[in-house]
């Protein structure tokens, strides 16, 4: 199963799109914006500025991977490029895997550049605010966050592929993928509130539990507080566990996507 040509082309195509540079440009703007927003907040303005920056980093990464994955598949299908690809000795599942790997390669490049931008931004904020946290610890923690964001992007990319294969409208697939991400992000808080509430019926509690276990839990990847607050400790096993969580979930979603895609008329 040689997915490399498709992955390489997807990567080449995606990083040369204006969208790629545009997202990095937005990231820079938002870091500046975070600094000024923090001035308006009460309390520890440095922590608020860092929190804003990392929140933008988190959501921009999610938006980036959804847009890249959905658009690369939909463009191929609507503009018939997929006919050129599948007329060659490439199976449908190889194509989809190539698209997934290409999107991940694009994400890796985006995260590498973003890591430098965000680190410089955060170090800048801490420098101007005379923060006592050593820079090396901050950069190291931003790097750990970047790794978890890669895992999150991996899972989100697989779901974006699933929605791209399932829906026939690019807008619908994009919107559903983003809503799915937001739901997965909030589901654990909803579960906590619902299970501890006496006003929620036992049937609804059960349904929420089922949803909680079926839906991907995107809040696992949100380790902003670990970067902002030095006293928060993240055990290495956490990273190992979310790696396996991502791997198993992603493999299952890609498998379902392939099953759907292999039965679809193009």
């Amino acid at each position: 199963m040689n997915f490399w040509p498709v992955a390489k082309l997807t990567f080449t195509e995606s990083v040369k799109e204006r969208f790629f540079l545009g997202m990095l440009f937005i990231e820079v703007i938002l870091i500046f914006f975070s600094y000024y927003l923090s001035e308006l907040a009460a309390g520890d303005t440095v922590k608020v500025a860092m929190d804003f920056t990392l929140t933008f980093y988190f959501f921009l990464t999610a938006l980036f991977i959804v847009m890249v994955t959905v658009s690369t598949i939909f463009r191929d299908i609507s503009e018939k490029f997929i006919y050129l690809v599948l007329s060659k000795p490439i199976k449908r599942e190889t194509y989809l895997l190539g698209k997934f790997m290409g999107s991940l390669m694009t994400l890796t490049f985006f995260l590498l550049v973003s890591f430098f931008i965000v680190s410089i931004g955060i170090l800048g904020i801490s420098h101007f605010s005379h923060l006592v946290v050593p820079h090396v610890i901050l950069v190291e923690r931003i790097f750990v966050l970047t790794i978890t964001l890669f895992f999150m992007g991996m899972l989100l990319s697989s779901f974006s592929i699933l929605f791209s294969v399932f829906f026939t409208s690019q807008t619908l697939a994009t919107v559903v993928a983003i809503l799915f991400f937001l739901s997965g992000l909030e589901l654990s808080s909803v579960k906590e509130i619902a299970l501890s509430s006496k006003y929620v019926s036992s049937l609804n509690k059960l349904l929420i539990k089922i949803f909680y276990y079926v839906f991907p839990n995107f809040s696992l990847y949100d380790i902003k507080s670990y970067v902002v607050h030095v006293q928060v400790i993240l055990p290495p096993i956490y990273l190992i566990l979310i790696f396996f969580y991502t791997l198993i979930y992603t493999a299952a979603v890609i498998f379902i996507s392939n099953w759907l895609f292999s039965r679809r008329d193009l």
């Binding site: 018939k80 050129l84 060659k88």
Partner: protein, 292 residues
């Protein structure tokens, strides 16, 4: 062995909100293509592209069998010997021509040391040498079509399936593609292509199939088809010993009687010219026949 064989190919689409309405796009297509240039013609919506999509495995037929080189059309190994060009194809604008060729070469596992020579040869063939480093976004429609055609030949395919290969091309581009098709025929390759430019089909094809409303109406060689559709003759003759020529147009059934009468009298026959229907006229007559 047939290069391409299609047996009883049927495809229907479901329409309406609840998909209860059904419409057959292909109503049992049967075709056999040997080592030849085979033209596939028909009006818009007749089922040409649907047939090609089914052959390429992009859509799944409701029934029927498609074999390429004796193997199932969905067999990936078959595609190593195949080249395909869809109608109005697109390549991502952000990549260069060479990057697209690299992609094709990666798929066919063409070694790096061979690529440069192959690219030069093919690009020269389609008059694009020197344009390969430019982004596709800066190419004209015709250039994209020619690049795609060149890329289609990268694996030296035994069978070429082309959906409207001349669309979007100017006369020079059409002539380039036509001469390449002739060259491929000389090399013993098979070309199966659809086109709405009937003059090209008439000029290039060994055999043609006419499809109307999802049904194959006729499969024949171009020369035999045109001779079958002779509508009449023009007889040019003169009185023996005179210089001035007389011409008369006759219906097909009137010819032999008229020639006999000329022989009996003092006339000599200078020439007899058949008045054939062009392939376009034949196609139009089938379309009108289908509608009426």
């Amino acid at each position: 062995m047939d290069v391409l064989s299609i047996r009883n190919l049927k495809k229907r689409y479901k329409k309406g909100i609840f998909k209860k309405e059904e419409k057959y796009i292909l109503k049992g297509i049967n075709l056999k293509v040997k080592r030849e240039i085979f033209g596939f013609i028909g009006p818009n919506g007749a089922g040409k592209t649907t047939t090609i999509k089914a052959v390429m495995g992009f859509i799944y037929p409701d029934s029927g069998e498609i074999k390429i080189f004796g193997k199932e059309n969905t067999d990936v190994s078959v595609k190593k010997k195949l080249g395909f060009l869809p109608e109005r194809a697109y390549i991502p604008f952000s990549i260069s021509g060479k990057e697209y060729l690299d992609f094709c070469a990666d798929v066919y596992e063409i070694p790096y040391y061979e690529r440069r020579r192959k690219y030069s040869k093919l690009l020269q063939m389609v008059d694009l040498l020197g344009a390969e480093e430019r982004k596709i976004g800066s190419y004209s429609k015709g250039m994209v079509q020619r690049l795609l055609f060149a890329a289609t030949l990268l694996n030296d395919p035994e069978l070429l399936i082309l959906d409207e290969p001349m669309s979007g091309l100017d006369p020079v581009g059409r002539s380039i593609i036509a001469s390449i098709l002739k060259e491929l025929k000389e090399k013993g390759k098979t070309v199966f292509y659809s086109s709405h430019i009937i003059q090209d089909v008439e000029r290039l094809s060994d055999r043609v199939a006419i499809i109307v409303n999802g049904e194959i109406k006729l499969v024949d060689s171009v020369s035999s088809l045109i001779s079958k559709f002779i509508s009449g003759y023009t007889v040019v003759y003169r009185r023996i010993g005179e210089a001035s020529l007389i011409s008369k147009e006759l219906k097909r059934e009137e010819l032999s009687k008229f020639l006999n009468s000329l022989n009996k009298e003092v006339y000599e026959i200078v020439r007899v010219e058949p008045k054939s229907l062009s392939l376009e006229d034949i196609l139009v007559s089938f379309i009108k026949g289908g509608e009426g």
